[in-house]
């Protein structure tokens, strides 16, 4: 794990050096570009006068103390920016995961149980649609239909623009509004979360539903399903307690891996829904050649992904008795 993190850091750092863009253009205004003194001063101030290995060692050293450098654009510490925005992304991604898994598992189970019926075909269409439509198109389309046209769901943002946000404790708007004890604001936050989370979760729901269907088909043919029926168990019990429980390990895997997709998808979703998370931050940073911010976002994203893989592995052990005792 520590080696993986170091790997991410190194890669993120090196990737910025192979890009064509000159970071100076982000720091120094066009007019000052012609002034050698100003350029030299800026280079010295941002450490750009040092060699690449030197910069790398300094960066890693600073990183160990929690310092990710200063953003060219916001002129604030990158660590502060990123951790301020991380909860918004996590809230969106987790909500998307919840929606995606719930829809995906339900559809997968139904499709397998009613294989080759209308239900199965509808689920297949839903999955294919979700996986093939780009997030940004889907986001814009749904935003237009539900918010602009029908007005049944709110527009972009995390809260009604007129509302005063609650004091930030966790950074999760839904939790912070609950902590503040403001039920109305909580519902508003939840309301704002639904559409972006659904847009982001749809593709994941598609993937999960296909996998769950395939696994359920296999499990439903196994003998212990017959045993369960011969015991007098009802169909719901047979399907959920006996069959679905046995597809948990592969399902957890795909949910775990879908996290990477969700993090990437969040970049586009956040941009469309004006969601103040890491994704929109990353887009701004990339536009402005804000290298410290780009590296910071990459590292934090990578570490979050590593952590989810770790959690997935732990969940395996809980779900599969053979691993637990073996």
């Amino acid at each position: 794990m520590p080696f993986l993190v170091l790997g991410i850091v190194t890669l993120a750092f090196l990737l910025t050096t192979v890009t064509k863009g000159d970071p100076l253009t982000a720091i120094v205004s066009d007019r000052q570009m012609n002034d050698p003194v100003a350029v030299a001063a800026a280079k010295a101030r941002w450490g750009l006068d040092r060699s690449l290995p030197e910069r790398y060692v300094i960066y890693v050293g600073n990183l160990l103390t929690g310092d990710m450098g200063t953003s060219f654009i916001t002129r604030r510490p990158v660590a502060q920016d990123v951790f301020f925005r991380l909860p918004a992304t996590m809230e969106l991604v987790l909500a998307a995961m919840l929606i995606g898994s719930t829809i995906g598992i339900t559809l997968g189970v139904l499709a397998a149980y009613f294989r080759n019926t209308v239900i199965d075909h509808a689920a297949r269409f839903f999955a294919l649609f979700g996986s093939s439509i780009p997030v940004f198109w889907l986001g814009l389309a749904l935003l237009y239909v539900f918010s602009v046209k029908w007005g049944i769901l709110p527009g972009p943002g995390r809260l009604d623009p007129r509302a005063t946000p609650p004091p930030s404790v966790t950074g999760f708007m839904t939790i912070d509004t609950l902590i503040a004890g403001n039920m109305k604001l909580f519902l508003d936050a939840l309301w704002h979360l639904i559409l972006p989370a659904f847009v982001l979760g749809w593709a994941v729901a598609g993937t999960i539903s296909r996998l769950v269907r395939a696994n359920m088909l296999e499990v439903l043919d196994r003998e212990f399903i017959l045993t369960a029926r011969a015991k007098g168990a009802g169909e719901l019990r047979v399907v959920v307690r006996h069959a679905l429980r046995n597809t948990l390990v592969p399902t957890l895997t795909v949910i775990g891996y879908s996290f990477a997709y969700l993090l990437t998808g969040a970049v586009l979703t956040e941009t469309i829904f004006s969601w103040p998370g890491m994704g929109s931050y990353a887009v701004e940073a990339a536009r402005g050649l804000d290298f410290p911010a780009i590296i910071g976002v990459t590292i934090v994203g990578g570490v979050v992904f590593l952590l989810t893989n770790l959690i997935t592995d732990i969940a395996y052990v809980i779900a599969n008795p053979r691993v637990r005792l073996g």
Binding site: E223, F224, T227, A230, G232, N320, P321, L325
Partner: protein, 328 residues
């Protein structure tokens, strides 16, 4: 009229429809079993012996259609509403299957699986009480350290032990009828004998009717009271076990008996019946067995054989060798 038996199947038929074609897996079998009695059903793989019994309990695959009659304690099972069937399954009628590893849920402890059977049919029983009862049941089927074993998973048990767990689960609610589908086929010979002992012992103690489905006539010799021989979805011979082994009336039964390995005699080769059972879609005309029958005559190719009987001994063959007094 004498009292109705515990479980009586009359002219049960099961057919599958696949790609618009209909396959008759079970073509009218009739048999019965009573409390404390062991009925052996013997036949080759695919003869319809398992699917027939499953269908009687409403456990047939979705694509199957079932007709005929299967009465249990005077109640008709064929066409019975699902909820009522479920109430019987696992409670009054229990089943165990061939492969005890795949028949147990790999991600539930064996205790939880037994307790589930109990609680499905006894709403008032607490989880605790059901687990305690599960341990008692494991003790009943002679599994050592039952209190510890109930918390283990199926993969921690050997094949024979798993089959004991299946049996414990089957008898959890004191059923009247136990249908054992090839209960020993997947097990070692020594373990087979132990499992058969457990089954016959439980039959005596709980006075259950036991239906023993097998392809191994040898297993039935020591354990069954009566035997029904099934070929291509039909019962071709049915008799008391001693009568069947002493005076088999159907050529197929004679073939099966001849192919049981015999330790006492030294034979160069084991006897085997020529050919293979006909595929479901292509049943021959007349007697289904005629292409493999050493005594087949012209009549066998064209006329389905009548069932001849002599008391309890019935055989469906034109040339059934029933003792004196046989009538068509």
């Amino acid at each position: 009229m004498q009292q109705e038996p515990l479980f009586a199947v009359r002219d049960l038929r099961v057919s599958f429809t696949r790609h618009g074609q209909s396959f008759k897996a079970v073509r009218g079998i009739s048999l019965h079993v009573d409390h404390g009695e062991v009925l052996g059903i013997v036949g080759e793989s695919g003869s319809g012996k398992s699917v027939g019994m499953l269908s009687a309990l409403g456990l047939q695959p979705k694509t199957a259609s079932v007709s005929g009659s299967a009465r249990f304690n005077g109640r008709e099972l064929v066409g019975m509403p699902m909820a009522q069937l479920r109430a019987l399954r696992g409670s009054r009628i229990a089943m165990i299957f061939q492969d005890p590893l795949s028949s147990l849920n790999p991600v539930m402890t064996v205790g939880a699986q037994i307790a589930e059977t109990i609680r499905l049919h006894n709403a008032g029983v607490s989880k605790r009480a059901a687990m305690d009862r599960a341990a008692e049941l494991l003790a009943l089927v002679a599994i050592p350290q039952p209190d510890r074993r109930i918390h283990q998973f199926p993969h921690e048990f050997s094949g024979g032990m798993r089959q004991r767990v299946m049996i414990a689960m089957a008898v959890a609610n004191d059923p009247d009828l136990l249908i054992a589908d090839e209960p020993t086929t997947a097990l070692d010979v020594t373990v087979q004998a132990q499992i058969m002992d457990v089954l016959t012992d439980l039959r005596r103690r709980l006075n259950l009717g036991l239906i023993l489905i097998t392809h191994d006539l040898g297993v039935l010799a020591g354990h069954a009271d009566r035997v029904a021989v099934v070929y291509s979805g039909e019962v071709v011979e049915q008799a008391n076990v001693d009568a069947l082994f002493a005076r088999p009336a159907h050529p197929y039964t004679r073939g099966l008996i001849a192919s049981i390995p015999n330790m006492a005699e030294e034979k160069e080769r084991l006897f085997s019946i020529d050919g293979a059972p006909p595929p479901l879609g292509k049943l021959p005309g007349g007697c289904a067995f005629h292409p493999r029958c050493p005594q087949a005559q012209d009549i066998c190719r064209h006329v389905p054989p009548p069932v001849r009987s002599n008391g309890d001994h019935r055989a469906a063959c034109h040339f059934a060798t029933l003792p004196v007094g046989s009538a068509a």
